[in-house]
């Protein structure tokens, strides 16, 4: 009942790549934000996998920290999105390319 570590890592890589791709091709700022979360999750998976391989629980601790950061990031990020939407009335990042209103 064992599988190679690289399986997990490849899965994690696929998730990460999907996140990057989402960042590149998505126009909706919320979806882009979700892509970031996807990348974070991909990284989390590799953390846990490495923790399992090397029998070091600190890998899992890192996951917690990543989650905390993700939560903080989500709170602030979504607040920013709301603020942006209020001023620009759009969520399309292609239309939000000027700092000036």
């Amino acid at each position: 009942m064992t599988i190679p570590l690289s399986c997990y890592l490849i899965l994690s890589g696929i998730l990460f790549t999907c996140g990057v791709l989402g960042f590149l091709i998505k126009r909706n700022i919320i979806t882009i934000f979700m892509s970031i979360e996807l990348m974070l999750n991909g990284v989390n998976l590799s953390f846990v996998a490495f923790a399992a391989q090397w029998h070091a629980l600190s890998g899992q601790i890192f996951v917690f920290f990543v989650m905390v950061v993700a939560a903080a990031e989500a709170a602030v990020g979504l607040a920013i999105i709301i603020a942006v939407y209020r001023t620009r009335e759009t969520l399309n990042v292609d239309q939000v390319n000027l700092l000036k209103l």
Partner: protein, 654 residues
């Protein structure tokens, strides 16, 4: 005596006064400013007196270390003070005369807007001067040296709204820099060869060296460089030009800084370094020659000046020349003796001149004075005493000190003596000329009042004739007059010299010709010389009387008959113009052409500008990367990430 542990307080007290007045003075009432300035300065004076009374020669020198300052390897320079007979004399002169002049300033500057500033600067000057005097090493001395320069600059340019004052301040500062340059190099040489700047350690290292009688060497170079510094600070040829201009400052400043104390710092420094000079006869000769020439040279200029303060300024230069002459013939204690008496009578002369200027409403041209004897009797009396003193009329202070110098000079080289006697004659002449022009005859000036004079302090209340100064100004005059009368008696029979002897004693077998022959000079010779100098002084008086009271038309005739010579003298031998065309103009033009147009614009600015232009070009092209589009940023990041990954994989493969 217990060496006073509060020695360090003497310089620090005026500093505190300066700080308080300088920081809070603007908002303080005038009385508080006065109290602070006088209080701190007076406290320093009292402390100095206390130390002097408790001074016992057997325990001197006494040194006190306040705090470590620079300690790098074996090199060491601390905030430490040094008290021996020499610095004690200086201490008393500086604090005493300084305190009197502080009191005088209260009256003199009473109506000035910058009163707090003035008092703060004066106190600051006191601090630096006392640091200079009390320093135990050359570095701390240099701090004081530069500090008095700063205070002098600030005070000369005290009325900085006046162009001439500001220019004079700058001139004094810059000319002093030349001297300081020499001083600094001397310090470097001392560090290099003796590894220390501490007086005792340096002198202990110099002591065993042989005098460089034939030829020159290290000590000669150090001595010459020190002399350059001293010439700058003490206004000797060729760096004397700043002192007459420094008369732009308020008169108390002229009295305190440019007559009594700061300008004598050079003499003090040379005397302090006597160990070095004694072993460098070449340097000593240079000192003597410079001193003698300066004395004569400045005195001749003094004849033709009409500005009362300028006359005194050239007189100061001349008297400083005497002091250097004394040092140059290794009669250091005579130099210091003359320094002290000179501080009394020259300070008095300046203060009295200030009183005169004050009384006639800011006029400084003697041709517009005259007959003031009746208007200001106290000023006349005190100034008369000072004039007698400086002219060398026995038994006043100047006679004793000047005579001692001349006697020593005669022993060293009669030529010095001859020039010195001529100078004494000229001195006597122009001083009495000043007296007759100012106080004799009838009043030639315009009615005083209304217009504010050059010294800015014109009186609000108009009055028609010159008037006597208030007692706060006359008090210091009287005290100084008394000192000018009796100050010379300490030197009778070599008392002063014996007091200073421990400082200037030389190692056995090292007596120089001047010193040695001075001991051997017979009494008869001495009295003869005394008689000659007294005669010369009276002769000068007589000539002045003749020319300016008996035959007032003579001076003009003499002047016209002398023609070019007179014009040269009146124009100070064109030295300023010479310096301007010789040094200043090439310097300015060189700086403009090479440094400004060539280096600054051509190289530095060009580099900066071209770099900026290039940066703008590059950024013009690169800025398209920063489109503001989030996704294109992500694209760049992804591409960059790919590069990084590729690099790392490639490294891993390799």
């Amino acid at each position: 005596m217990t060496p006073n542990p509060y020695l360090w307080l003497i310089p620090v007290l005026p500093l505190a006064g300066a700080a308080i007045n300088g920081v809070f003075g603007r908002g303080l009432p005038k009385k508080a400013i006065t109290a602070i300035a006088l209080g701190f300065c007076g406290a320093a004076f009292l402390l100095a007196l206390k130390i002097a009374l408790g001074f016992s020669p057997s325990e001197a020198p006494y040194s006190f270390e306040l705090a470590p300052w620079i300690r790098a390897g074996s090199f060491q320079a601390d905030f430490s003070f040094y008290l021996d007979q020499l610095s004690l004399v200086m201490l008393l002169v500086v604090t005493g005369v300084g305190f009197l002049i502080h009191i005088y300033s209260v009256g003199y500057m009473a109506d000035d807007d910058g009163y707090y500033r003035f008092m703060s600067y004066l106190n600051l000057f006191m601090f630096f001067m006392l640091t200079l005097v009390l320093a135990k090493n050359y570095l701390l001395m240099f701090i004081g040296w530069e500090g008095v320069g700063l205070a002098s600059y600030l005070l000369i340019g005290f009325w900085f709204t006046k162009d001439s004052a500001a220019a004079a301040g700058k001139k004094a500062f810059i000319v002093n820099r030349i001297g300081d340059f020499g001083f600094l190099i001397a310090l470097f040489l001392i560090i290099k060869h003796f590894g220390s700047l501490d007086f005792t350690r340096v002198f202990a290292a110099v002591q065993p060296l042989q005098p460089e009688i034939a030829g020159t060497g290290l000590l000669t170079s150090i001595g010459l460089l020190l002399m350059v510094g001293a010439a700058g600070k003490s206004a000797q040829i060729p760096l004397y030009v700043w002192l007459p201009d420094a008369m732009e400052g308020p008169t108390p400043v002229s009295a305190l800084i440019h007559a009594a104390t700061m300008v004598t710092a050079g003499v003090y420094m040379v005397a302090r370094s006597h160990v070095i000079f004694e072993r460098a006869p070449g340097a000593l000769t240079v000192v003597a020659v410079i001193g003698t020439l300066t004395a004569l040279f400045a005195a001749t200029i003094g004849i033709a000046q009409t500005d009362i303060k300028k006359v005194l300024a050239y007189s100061t230069v001349s008297q400083l020349g005497y002091m250097f002459m004394a040092c140059g013939v290794a009669a250091f204690s005579s130099g210091i003796f003359h320094l002290m008496t000179h501080a009394f009578f020259k300070g008095l002369l300046f203060l009295a001149a200030g009183s005169v200027i004050h009384g006639v409403g800011g006029e400084q041209d003697m041709r517009k004075m005259g007959g003031l004897r009746t208007f200001m009797p106290w000023t006349f009396a005190t100034m008369g005493i000072a004039t007698l003193a400086i002219a060398g009329i026995p038994p006043l202070a100047g006679f004793w000190s000047k005579d001692e110098i001349l006697g020593r000079a005669y022993n060293a080289n009669p030529l010095y003596w001859l020039l010195g006697i001529v100078t004494a004659f000229i001195t006597s002449f122009y001083m009495f000329r000043l007296m007759y022009m100012t106080f004799g005859g009838d009043y030639r000036g315009a009615p005083v009042g209304g217009t504010h004079g050059r010294d800015h302090h014109g009186h609000g209340h108009g009055h028609g004739s010159p008037h006597e100064s208030p007692w706060v100004m006359l008090g210091p005059l009287v005290v100084l007059a008394i000192l000018s009368v009796i100050g010379g008696f300490v030197g009778i029979g070599g008392g002063f010299e014996h007091f200073l002897a421990p400082v200037f004693q030389t190692a056995p077998g090292m007596e120089l010709t001047g010193e040695a022959s001075a001991e051997a000079a017979n009494k008869g010779m001495e009295y003869l010389l005394m008689g000659v100098s007294a005669t010369v002084a009276f002769a000068g008086w007589f000539f002045a009387y003749l020319l300016y009271t008996r035959r007032p038309e003579l001076p003009a005739r003499i002047a016209s008959s002398l023609g070019g010579l007179y014009r040269a003298v009146a124009n100070k031998y064109y030295v300023d113009e010479l310096y301007a065309s010789l040094f200043v103009k090439p310097l300015v033009e060189g700086s403009t052409a090479i440094l400004w147009k060539g280096v600054d614009q051509g190289v530095i600015d060009a580099t900066v500008n071209n770099a900026a232009d290039e940066a703008r070009h590059v950024s013009d092209n690169v800025r398209h990367m920063q489109s503001g589009n989030l996704r294109s940023y992500a694209g760049w990041v992804a591409a960059g990430g790919a590069v990084v990954i590729a690099y790392m994989v490639w490294m891993g493969v390799r």
